[in-house]
C-alpha cells in the first residue's frame, strides 16, 4: 500500500498563556490514506480543532507546534517556510469551517472569493478561473451557477453556503480536506445530503478527508476510521465498525451509550458523570480518571496508547473487553 496521504506522528501543540501552558494537542498520531475518511471525535476543548489547524499551519500566538511530524504525501509540513506553507494551503490541503456565514467574507462576491483561491496558486487568467469556479459549483450540486457567482454570501441559504465552501475547498484538487464540524450549523436532512456527497466526492477523486466532529452519528454514517480524543490525547482509534461496535475506552463507551437510540425504550439515558477537566489543571495520570467508574489507583499513572490489533489502539489500563450491549 502506498504511503498514506496524511501521517501525523507525535504531534504536540501547546498554548503558552498567562495562566499556564495548555497542552491542547498532546502526542497525537494517526494516518489517513488516499480516498479514506477519518473521523476525529471529541468534546469541545478536546483538541480536535487545534489538530486540524496545526496541520494547516494556522496556529497563532500564544500557540505553537512544539513537537512531532505532520507528513503530507511523505513531506514534513513542519519543515516548510511560511511561503511554502502558504502555497500549500488551499492547494494541497484545504479546510472547511463550521459556520459558512462567518467564514465567507460578507462584503465580497462569491466569484471574487473563488477566483482568488485559484489565482493564489496558479498563474491563470480571470476567465479560465471563472470557468473552473463554475464547474466547481456545479460539482457540488448548485443550480444556475452564473447567478450564484455574482451574488453575495448573505443571499444564500445555510446549506448552499456550505456547499460553496466545499466547492472552494475542491477548487485546486487537494490531496487532503480537513472539515471542522461543517454540518453542525445545518439541519439534519441537509447534514445527511452533504455527508453523502462528500463521501462520494472523496471516493471518486481519491482525496483524503479528515472530518472533525463531536457527533458520533455523523461518524458512523460517513467515516472509515475513527480517532477519539479527550483532553488533548487520543484515547481510542480503529475502524468505525470496530470502535462503534466494541468500544474499548470507557469514554468512548460512555459517548455511544449516551446517544438516544430507537431500539431501547423506557430506560434512563446513561450520562458520563462530571465534566471535562480544565486544560490548565489536568489531574495527573489518566485525564478521564475522575469521571470513570472503572478507575483505580493504577490510573494515577499516565496510560500510554497501546496497540491492540492492526490499526486498533486504546489508552487505558482497564479497557472494556466485551462488545456493546453486554453488561460488563
Amino acid at each position: 500500500m502506498s504511503a498514506p496521504t496524511l501521517q501525523i506522528e507525535n504531534l504536540r501543540t501547546h498554548f503558552f498563556t498567562r495562566e499556564g501552558v495548555v497542552k491542547a494537542v498532546d502526542d497525537v498520531s494517526f494516518a489517513v490514506g488516499s480516498g479514506r475518511i477519518m473521523g476525529l471525535v471529541g468534546e469541545s476543548g478536546s483538541g480536535k480543532s487545534v489538530t486540524g489547524y496545526s496541520i494547516m499551519g494556522l496556529i497563532d500566538e500564544p500557540g505553537r507546534i512544539v513537537g512531532g511530524r505532520v507528513l503530507l504525501n511523505g513531506a514534513d509540513l513542519r519543515g516548510l517556510s511560511p511561503q511554502e506553507l502558504q502555497g500549500m494551503r488551499g492547494n494541497r490541503v484545504a479546510m472547511i469551517f463550521q459556520d459558512p456565514l462567518m467564514s465567507l467574507n460578507p462584503v465580497l462576491r462569491i466569484d471574487t472569493q473563488m477566483i482568488e483561491a485559484i489565482q493564489a496558486h496558479e498563474p491563470i487568467g480571470r476567465r479560465s478561473a471563472y470557468e473552473r469556479a463554475r464547474e466547481a459549483l456545479a460539482q457540488v450540486g448548485i443550480a444556475s451557477p452564473d447567478e450564484r457567482l455574482r451574488s453575495y454570501p448573505h443571499q444564500f441559504s445555510g446549506g448552499m453556503r456550505q456547499r460553496v465552501a466545499i466547492a472552494i475547498a475542491l477548487l485546486n484538487r487537494p490531496s487532503l480536506i480537513i472539515a471542522d464540524e461543517p454540518t453542525t450549523a445545518l439541519d439534519v436532512t441537509l447534514q445527511g445530503q452533504i455527508l453523502y456527497e462528500m463521501q462520494k466526492l472523496c471516493r471518486e477523486s481519491g482525496t483524503a478527508l479528515l472530518w472533525i466532529t463531536h457527533d458520533l452519528a455523523v461518524v458512523s454514517g460517513l467515516a472509515d476510521d475513527v480517532c477519539v480524543m479527550y483532553a488533548g490525547k487520543i484515547v481510542e482509534q480503529g475502524s468505525v465498525d470496530q470502535v462503534l461496535d466494541a468500544p474499548l475506552h470507557p469514554y468512548t463507551r460512555g459517548l455511544i451509550e449516551s446517544v438516544p437510540s430507537r431500539g431501547v425504550r423506557g430506560r434512563a439515558l446513561p450520562q458520563i458523570p462530571g465534566a471535562a477537566p480544565s486544560m490548565l489543571a489536568l489531574p495527573p495520570g489518566c485525564a478521564f480518571r475522575e469521571r470513570c467508574a472503572r478507575a483505580d489507583a493504577l490510573c494515577s499513572i499516565r496510560p500510554e496508547l497501546v496497540s491492540v490489533d492492526d490499526g486498533r489502539a486504546v489508552r487505558c489500563f482497564h479497557p472494556h473487553r466485551e462488545p456493546l450491549g453486554v453488561p460488563a
Binding site: L58, Q86, R89, N91, F97, S103, V107, Y152
Partner: protein
Amino acid sequence: MLVYIIRRLMQSALVLLVMSLLVFAGVYAIGNPVDMLISPQADQAEIARLTAALGLDRPLWQQYWAFLRQAAIGDLGQSFAFNVPAIQLIFERMPATLELATVAMLIAIVLGIPLGLWAGLKPDSVAGKTIMTGSILGFSLPTFWVGLMLIMVFSVWLGWLPSGGRGPTIELLGVSVSFLSREGLAHLVMPATTLALFKLSLVIRLTRAGTREALLQDYVKFARAKGLSNARVVGVHVLKNILIPIVTVIGLEFGSVIAFAVVTESVFAWPGMGKLLIESINALDRPVIVAYLCIIVTLFIFINLVVDVVYSLLDPRVRIGEASA
C-alpha cells in the same frame, strides 16, 4: 433604493422645519429680537420704525410665518456691520471654509487609514504603540494650541511658511481655490494640518479598532486557509470590511470639521465662515449669526442624508437585502 432616498428626504425636511422652529424660538422668543435684528446704534425713532417694518409687534406665529417665507427666498436679514444681506456674506466665505475642511479631511483619511491598519496589525510592536500614543496626543492637543505651535515653529523660527491669511487664489469653475498655486498651498498647509490633527487621531483609532476586530473574524482564518497572501487578506478582505463603518464616521465628522474650522480660521486669519462668525459675535452682528446657524444646520442635515445613502450603497447586505434561497 429610490423609496429609501425619498423617505430620507422627507425626514430631512421635517428636521429642517423643527430646526427652523428652534432657531426662531431662540431669536424671537427667548432672545430679544430687537437686539437681534436692529443695529445697536439705532436711536429710538429708528427702533420704532424698524420694529413696525420688521413686524416685531405682530403675534409670534405671524412672525414665524414671515420668518419662514423670508428664509425660503433666502433672505435672512441684513448684516449690521457690512450692510449687505447676511446670507451673501456667508456664501462669499463658504468656499474658503469648505476648501480648508476638505483638505483637512483628506489628510486625516490618507494618513489615518494606513497608520491605523499598521497599529491594528502589529499592536505590540514599537511602531504600533507609538502610533497609539501619538493618537492620544493628537486628540488631546487643543486645536488652537497646535495652530500656535505650528506658526511659532514654521513662521517665526524657520520662516518657511506664511503665518496667516489665504494668499492669492485661482478661479476654478467660478470658485476661488488655493490649492492650485504654490503660494496658495503654502498658506493652506498649516491650517489644514491643524484642523486635520484631531480627525487624524480619530481615524487612526477607529481603523485600529476595526482592524483588530476584523482579524478575529472567521473570514480572515478562511482566507488564510485558502492560501491567500497576507497582503491580499489585509488589503482586500479586512480593508473592505472595515472601510464601511469608517467611511460612515468620516462622513458624519465632516460636518464637525466645518464647525471646528471656526477656531483654525481665527488662529490663521483664514477668511472663511468661521472667522466671520467670531467677528460677528464680537461685533454683535446678530443677523449674520442667525444666517450662519441656518446654513450650518442645512449643511449638516444634507451631509447626514448623503452619508446614509452612501452607507446603504456600500454595504451589499443593506443594498441587496435578504434574497430568498
